[in-house]
Structures are given as structure tokens and as C-alpha cells.
């Protein structure tokens, strides 16, 4: 779980180029610099390719904090492998 947080944080810094404030599980996406729906989609693609999962967009856009996203990744990669799209 800790590795996932570190990896996720790196991805968030990458898409937002947030340099000034540290990102924690409590960080709210809306409060990050450069956060927009396009940034959110870039982050989504990075997450899905990195962890081999597919998230429901309604659920994804309802997530407010980094910790909430971490939970969603854990749920998708652990409990519900059926969400991985078939190629």
C-alpha cells in the first residue's frame, strides 16, 4: 500500500507539476495546482496502465482525495480483477 502511495504521488506530481506543496493521502485534487478534467484523464491513463486496471469514470471523478484514489486502485487491482478490460 505504501509503495502504491509513493508511485501514485509521483504520477500526481508529474501531471500537475506541483512542486511546492507535499502530496499526502489527505491532499484534495481540487486544491492542486493545474488540476483540470484533462489532467485527471492523464492521471487516469497513467494509473490504469501502471496497475493494469480499469476504473469506472463516475466513481473516479467522484473521488476527492489522494487517499480515496488509493483505495479505489486497491479495490480494482485486488478484489475485482474482472474490471480489467478484455483485449
Amino acid at each position: 500500500m505504501h509503495d502504491t502511495l509513493a508511485g501514485l504521488t509521483r504520477l500526481i506530481v508529474l501531471v500537475t507539476r506541483e512542486q511546492d506543496r507535499p502530496i499526502t493521502a489527505d491532499s484534495r485534487f481540487e486544491a492542486l495546482g493545474n488540476w483540470s478534467s484533462m489532467t485527471a484523464l492523464r492521471l487516469l491513463t497513467l494509473i490504469e496502465q501502471r496497475w493494469g486496471i480499469a476504473l469506472d469514470l463516475r466513481e473516479y471523478f467522484a473521488i476527492e482525495t489522494v487517499g480515496g484514489l488509493l483505495d479505489a486502485i486497491a479495490r480494482a487491482s485486488g478484489a475485482e480483477p474482472s474490471l480489467i478490460p478484455e483485449h
Partner: protein, 626 residues
């Protein structure tokens, strides 16, 4: 290098005080996997903020190119991926992305942002929804024919208008029909009808280059058959209007980058092949000529297949060479007599069969062919040899042919290193021409002076105004010549065509023949005719005829024509590119002197006498020009 490390290093490069890190670009190749596209996109975004000199070798500055992306849908990732792939191919692109969904308007409107950007290449990205009527009747797929036809005609008018006003090139593509559209027709008969009308649309698209010289079409529908993922991610499509999944965007960007490379004249020209376990299976030194794997059965047939593909490259003008650590006699035996060989000794311009390091051999090959190492592709099964060449000669493209030989042919062609906009009849004879050149070198050894030798060749240079037959070859020379060109990239494909037809311009081609071979058109001169003064905008010559005085003979022909029209001074532009110093030295030796920033001038009184004593100049009368 892990993805995180690559991105970390790229992030550092975006800082104002960043130190150069040329290794990072090559590391990105390792991330180019179906699951790695999102990382590549982010790398491409970071690269937008990295000055090119920080990631490129100082002695090989990237070439500039203006590339526009005009899409009927949201294609956010195409531009960053293009930036990355182009930089990898030696091109520092200036990118312009049109507002999405405005592709056609931007093409059609002479005052659009796209027109103002003046792109060298415009990439037109289309998706099925932009072409299909909203309410088409799945029970009557044939009724789509007419509206699709009209839709394409409108699009073609916009493209034609744009290329008529702008000198750049447009790349369109065949459009894949999404699975949902196909599946929404339930009868097999009507599905076939739908497939038919859709292929008619794509077929008409593929005909566009026949009608518009500056339009090219990528057969994207065919390319997608090798793509592992889905065309569309329905979530991203519905949410953000993205019609292509990230993997498809990457596939497109890769193909578009190869196209841009061809436009920029950076296509590779020489393929250097290893022999053992590359061109045949096994080690001829150990197994003997009879023991190598080469024939109708697996795995021998995989090597035959590779040879077949290599032979087709040769037939389209790619020069082949051998670099093998082997006993030359054994290799000669196989090349001459093995019944399974498709390639024979005469298919190769050079054979470097010895025990010397391959990087040195490649360097020698480049020198004796008069071509830059950046036009070489090296294919070998050995990790050692591949790493050696990659390290010692980073400008050479390396293809490692390891693992199952059945995959080798596809791997060799995968990166489209040799792609060009068009091939000409002369390409088919290129191997022969370069071989004749090697023979000439051997013959030179028996003469006491270079001049004796040149006199013995019986050189004839013919200078002739460009016509419909020679314009394609001159266009190609203009794009491909890297060393003997006075202004690299002076004229685009369309620019050269326009040049040939304009009364204020004169496009001359020159041919060389000697007692060994007729080389066909080896150079061209792009001249703007002004009253009393001519300006040579570009002077291009193939390096294979260097050191024979051919360029002086051609210039003499230009001077004589100018004098006949009462011209008193010939001016010429020379722009150093780092590679074209020979062309600059030529102007200087011919008597041109500096007359401005990139401008040189040569007074025509007294008449300059540049024709070498060993060359016969045939300055052909212009036939009536339509």
C-alpha cells in the same frame, strides 16, 4: 532505466539550470510498450519544455520541422508523442495543434491559425463519426454510399484548397470503422454491404495522392490489424471526445513521425547485414556451406523470408552491404552457389567479410559510399555487435535480430527506416551505380595521376531543363542530399514542382555518363531568374559523383545559359548545415565571393572558365515549355 527514472531525469531537464543528458532519449525506446504509452505521453509533454540541445548530441543538431495536427476529435496525446518520436528521429518539431473538431474549417479558411502557422506537414486525423451521417439506416447500409461520397468530396476540397495555398504536405489516412458501427448491423448481408461502402470511402481516400501531389495517405486501417488493443476506449470517447485509445494514438504518432522523417529527407539508405544467424541460420565457418539453415523448411524458410524482404528493399533503391566476421572464401561460396540464397553477390554494394571490429568497417563503408552514417541501418543477431555499434556510432539505426528467426523479417521492417515519399525508376539501378563506382576506384589504382584517370573515364555531363520525367528525381535529390546541398531543405516537394513550371524560375537537372555507366540525373540547380541577375537558390548533387569535376561542369553550363540571356552576375545562397561544407568549398573554388549574410556572388565578366578538361559538357537546348 525505469519509467520513473526516465521521467525524473526529463523533469530535471525542464529546469533553467539543467545540464545536458543526451542518454535519456534513447532510454525512452525501452518504454515503448503497449502498456507504456501513458508514460511516453508524459515524457513528450516534458520534452516540450526541454531545449533540444540538452537531449541531442552536440555534433548532430536536430533538424527543424513545422508540424500541425488537425483532428476531427480530441487527440490530446498525439502532439506530445510526435514530439518525442520526432526528436528520436533527429527532428526538433515545432508543433501546432488545431482546436479539436475544427480540422476542416482550419484547412478551408485562408485566414485560419493553421494557415498562419505555415506547416511543413499537416497531419489530418479523422474518425468515423465525423464522416458518417448521424441517422444512417442500419437496414440500408448501401444508402450510405452517396452521403459518404459527398462528405469525402467536401473534405477533399478543403484539403485541395489548403495545399493550393500552402507549400507544405498533408498526411491523411484511411479511417477505421468502429466495432459498434459494424455490430449495429445484424444481418451478414448488410454487414458486407456496410463493409463495402466503407472500403469505397477508404479507397477513394487512397486515391487522393493521385489527384493532389502534396497529399499523402497513410493506410491506417491496415496498420491497425497489427495493433493489440481496441480502437476506442468508450469511456474516454464519451467523456472527452477521444476517438482513439491511447495505444492507437501512439501507433498513429509513430507512423506520422516516420512520414515526417521522409519529408525531412532523413530516410535511411543503406542496410548493413550480418550473415551467420542473420541472413542464414547457423555458423558457416562451423557448419560449412552445406550445413547452414536456408531453404523451404522451418527454420530455414524464416531466413529465406528475411532475404526476400531485403531483396525488395534493394529493388526500391536501398543499398545492401555485408558486415560479417567470417572467412571470405566460405561466404563467397554461399553467395555464389547455395541454392537457398535469394541474395547474390551482385545485390550488395560492399562486402566487409573479415575479423575487424564492425564499427570501423561501417565507418569505412560510409566513407567509400560517400554517405553519412546517419543513413545506415545495421542488422545483426549478436548483442555484442549491436551494442558496439549503438555505442560507437549512435547515428546508425540498429536492429537486433534475436530470438525466433520467424520474427526477423517483421522486426527489420517494423520501424520503417527506409520509408520515402516516392521512389523513382533510377532507384532500381542504384546498386549497380554504386558498384560501378567501386569498380572505378579499383581502376583508379592503375593510373599514375588522378587527372590521367579522369581523362580515361570519358565523362559526359548533360545539363537539361527539368520536365515531367525529371521533376520527381530532382525532388528526391533535393530532399535526400545532405552533404552536397547549398541550402538543405530549400524546397519542399510541392515547391520543386512549382519551381519547374514557373517562368521566373529555372530548374535544371544534370546527368553524368562515363565509359563504365550512365548514372542518370545526379544533381539539380534551382535558379530564380531576375533581370540581369540570377540567384541559385539551391545546388544539389549526389555525393557518389564527387571528385570528378561534375559540379564545375554543371555550373559552367548554368553560366553559359545566363550569359546567353544577358545576365551579368550569378548570386547563390549558401547556408551551412554542419554537413554541407563541401558544397560551400565548391562555391568558393568556383570564384563566388561573399555578398551578404548567406549570399555569394560571381561576376560573369570575364566569362568564368570552370569546365574541367576531362569533361564534355552537353548544354541541352530547352524544348518548348508548357
Amino acid at each position: 532505466m525505469s519509467p520513473d527514472e526516465v521521467l525524473e531525469r526529463l523533469t530535471l531537464l525542464t529546469r533553467p539550470d539543467a545540464a545536458p543528458d543526451p542518454a535519456v532519449l534513447a532510454a525512452l525506446d525501452g518504454l515503448d510498450t503497449p502498456d507504456g504509452t501513458s508514460v511516453l505521453v508524459e515524457a513528450g509533454r516534458l520534452l516540450a519544455d526541454v531545449p533540444a540541445h540538452l537531449v541531442c548530441d552536440a555534433d548532430r543538431p536536430p533538424r527543424p520541422l513545422r508540424v500541425a495536427v488537425a483532428a476531427t476529435f480530441t487527440a490530446e496525446s498525439v502532439a506530445p508523442l510526435l514530439r518525442l518520436f520526432l526528436l528520436r528521429a533527429g527532428i526538433a518539431a515545432e508543433l501546432h495543434v488545431c482546436p479539436f473538431d475544427q480540422a476542416e474549417v482550419q484547412l478551408a479558411d485562408p485566414g485560419s491559425g493553421l494557415a498562419a502557422f505555415r506547416p511543413d506537414v499537416t497531419l489530418l486525423l479523422l474518425h468515423d463519426e465525423a464522416l458518417l451521417p448521424d441517422d444512417w439506416d442500419p437496414a440500408e447500409p448501401a444508402s450510405l454510399r452517396e452521403p459518404l461520397h459527398r462528405r469525402l468530396a467536401t473534405l477533399e476540397r478543403a484539403i485541395g484548397g489548403f495545399t493550393g495555398r500552402s507549400p507544405g504536405t498533408v498526411l491523411s489516412h484511411t479511417v477505421p470503422l468502429s466495432r459498434a458501427e459494424q455490430r449495429s448491423v445484424i444481418s451478414y448481408r448488410d454487414r458486407a454491404a456496410l463493409g463495402r461502402v466503407w472500403r469505397e470511402l477508404n479507397g477513394a481516400m487512397l486515391e487522393m495522392p493521385e489527384r493532389h501531389a502534396s497529399v499523402h495517405v497513410l493506410d491506417f486501417e491496415s496498420l491497425l490489424t497489427g495493433h493489440p488493443g481496441a480502437l476506442r476506449d468508450d469511456r474516454l470517447h464519451r467523456f472527452a471526445g477521444m476517438a482513439w485509445s491511447p495505444g492507437v494514438e501512439a501507433l498513429y504518432a509513430r507512423e506520422a513521425a516516420a512520414f515526417c522523417r521522409a519529408v525531412a529527407g532523413l530516410s535511411r539508405k543503406v542496410l548493413v547485414l550480418d550473415l551467420d544467424d542473420t541472413l542464414w541460420g547457423g555458423i558457416v565457418g562451423d557448419d560449412g556451406p552445406g550445413g547452414i539453415q536456408l531453404g523451404p523448411l522451418y527454420p530455414g524458410n524464416a531466413y529465406v523470408e528475411l532475404q526476400r524482404r531485403v531483396r525488395s528493399l534493394r529493388r526500391q533503391g536501398v543499398l545492401l552491404a555485408v558486415a560479417s566476421k567470417n572467412d571470405a572464401d566460405l561466404v563467397d561460396q554461399v553467395l555464389a552457389g547455395h541454392p537457398g540464397m535469394l541474395l547474390r553477390a551482385e545485390d550488395f554494394v560492399m562486402r566487409m567479410v573479415d575479423w575487424r571490429p564492425k564499427d570501423g568497417n561501417l565507418r569505412l563503408a560510409a566513407e567509400s559510399l560517400g554517405l553519412g552514417l546517419d543513413s545506415f541501418v545495421f542488422a545483426d543477431d549478436s548483442r555484442f555487435e549491436c551494442d558496439l555499434v549503438r555505442h560507437a556510432l549512435p547515428e546508425v539505426a540498429v536492429v537486433r535480430l534475436s530470438g525466433d528467426p520467424a520474427t526477423h523479417a517483421a522486426r527489420l521492417l517494423e520501424h520503417d527506416h527506409f520509408a520515402v515519399l516516392a521512389t523513382t525508376a533510377g532507384d532500381r539501378d542504384r546498386t549497380g551505380l554504386y558498384r560501378a563506382r567501386a569498380d572505378r576506384r579499383r581502376s583508379a589504382e592503375s593510373f599514375t595521376s588522378a587527372e590521367d584517370y579522369l581523362h580515361s573515364l570519358g565523362l559526359r555531363v548533360t545539363l537539361r531543363r527539368a520536365d515531367d520525367y525529371s521533376v520527381p528525381r530532382l525532388t528526391q535529390l533535393g530532399l535526400r542530399a545532405n552533404q552536397f546541398t547549398t541550402v538543405k531543405g530549400a524546397h519542399s516537394e510541392a515547391g520543386t514542382r512549382a519551381f519547374a513550371c514557373s517562368p521566373d524560375h529555372l530548374l535544371l537537372g544534370f546527368e553524368v555518363a562515363d565509359d563504365f555507366a550512365a548514372e542518370g540525373i545526379v544533381g539539380g540547380v534551382w535558379i530564380a531568374r531576375r533581370p540581369g541577375r540570377w540567384l541559385i537558390e539551391n545546388f544539389v548533387m549526389s555525393c557518389r559523383v564527387l571528385a570528378r569535376g561534375v559540379e564545375y561542369a554543371a555550373l559552367q553550363g548554368v553560366i553559359d545559359r545566363a550569359l546567353a540571356e544577358g545576365v551579368s552576375t550569378i548570386e547563390a545562397d549558401f547556408r551551412p548545415s554542419g554537413r554541407n561544407h563541401q558544397a560551400g568549398e565548391f562555391y568558393h573554388a568556383a570564384g563566388f565571393r561573399r555578398a551578404g549574410d548567406d549570399r555569394l556572388a560571381l561576376p560573369l565578366t570575364p566569362r568564368p572558365r570552370l569546365l574541367p578538361a576531362w569533361v564534355e559538357l552537353i548544354n541541352e537546348e530547352d524544348t518548348v515549355h508548357a
